[in-house]
């Protein structure tokens, strides 16, 4: 019965998507705030990607809220799932038996893909103010790349948890510091500084690329730590 109700739900969703994509004229809804932002964003913020100027400029405080929600979630998962130091010493001997590299295909595939994933993740983060994407997407790509590497070959690769938390704290603190610096200059919290630069070049849009770098590092370190906590605890339980 559950399966059929799920089927009913899915067919309703499909019907909704068909109606929406088929009938609604895209981009012609009456958006007052949206239109005002679309008109003024280029002169006020200077980012080529309007979504970034909304996420980090007009709604920067909301982004800080999202970061704190993510931080709370990752902290709780780490608190509940990671081993205590006593258990770690006790189960050290078992670890060596249970940890073995995955099969031939997985090991070679991750060796091939890992550098590419790093480049793609850093590209998405650093070009967040120019092209679609940004700190969240690139950070997730980085986190998935590192945790895939650790999951596929646990004997060769190990990631220092202290280093991960140092990167995470540094990124979070620098995000807030950039916002507070704007306060000291007599502007609003998280208002972009440093001028606009040349439109649509890499060094443009003031502090937005720095903010996105901080967001990317924070999201990447948090999610990588979360995935590693989920993965390494497997031996102890």
């Amino acid at each position: 019965m559950t399966k059929y109700s799920a089927l009913l739900f899915i067919s309703g969703l499909v019907f909704l998507l068909m109606v929406i994509t088929g009938l609604l004229p895209m981009g012609h809804t009456p958006m007052l705030v949206g239109n005002a932002i679309l008109e003024g964003a280029k002169d006020q913020v200077g980012a080529a990607n309007v979504v970034t100027s909304v996420v980090l400029g007009y709604r920067g405080l909301d982004t800080l809220g999202e970061l704190s929600i993510l931080f709370a979630a990752a902290s709780v998962v780490g608190l509940v799932l990671t081993k205590s130091s006593f258990n770690k010493h006790a189960s050290n001997n078992d670890d060596k038996h249970d940890h073995h590299d995955s099969g031939f295909v997985a090991v070679n595939a991750i060796d091939l893909i890992f550098p590419l994933l790093l480049v793609v993740g850093m590209y998405i983060i650093t070009h967040g103010h120019l092209t679609p994407g940004g700190g969240f997407q690139g950070g997730v790509v980085l986190a998935v790349a590192f945790s895939m590497l650790v999951i596929v070959r646990p004997r060769r690769v190990s990631i220092n948890h202290g280093m991960v938390s140092i990167i995470e704290s540094f990124a979070g603190v620098s995000f807030i510091v950039i916002g507070v610096v704007a306060l000291f200059k007599g502007q609003s919290f998280l208002q972009p500084l440093l001028g606009h630069g040349e439109f649509a070049s890499l060094w443009s849009a003031g502090t937005l690329p720095l903010l996105y770098l901080a967001v990317g590092l924070k999201v990447g370190a948090e999610l990588a730590g979360l995935l590693l906590a989920l993965n390494t605890d497997e031996v102890a339980s």
Binding site: I10, T21, N49, P132, G133, Q137, V140, L227, L230, D233
Partner: protein, 92 residues
């Protein structure tokens, strides 16, 4: 364009049904990733590339990885179907 959306929605529906009815757990995880990938294509078609990238990274990448780790922790990381795994456990 509506036909492309129709094909993608059909793939999405088929993958979502496959998640429900596939006996193999790993295949079900992969099918749930296919649902997210089809949704990514729809987002790209309706000109929301930022949302499409988020859906591809989180929906297809991260949540599949979390589901796979969950399977590993629960001991269902088997290439056999779930019924065979349960039957094997019963014989032991």
């Amino acid at each position: 364009m509506i036909w492309v959306v129709a094909v993608v929605v059909f793939i999405m529906l088929a993958a979502a049904l496959a998640v429900l009815f596939l006996p193999n757990m790993i295949a079900a995880v992969v099918a749930s990733a296919v649902v997210s990938l089809s949704l990514t294509v729809i987002f790209a078609i309706v000109k929301a590339p930022d949302v499409a990238m988020t859906e591809a990274a989180i929906g297809a990448g991260l949540s599949s990885l979390i589901l796979a780790i969950g399977l590993k922790r629960l001991g269902y990381w088997k290439t056999d179907s779930i019924d065979k795994v349960k039957a094997g456990e019963r014989h032991d």
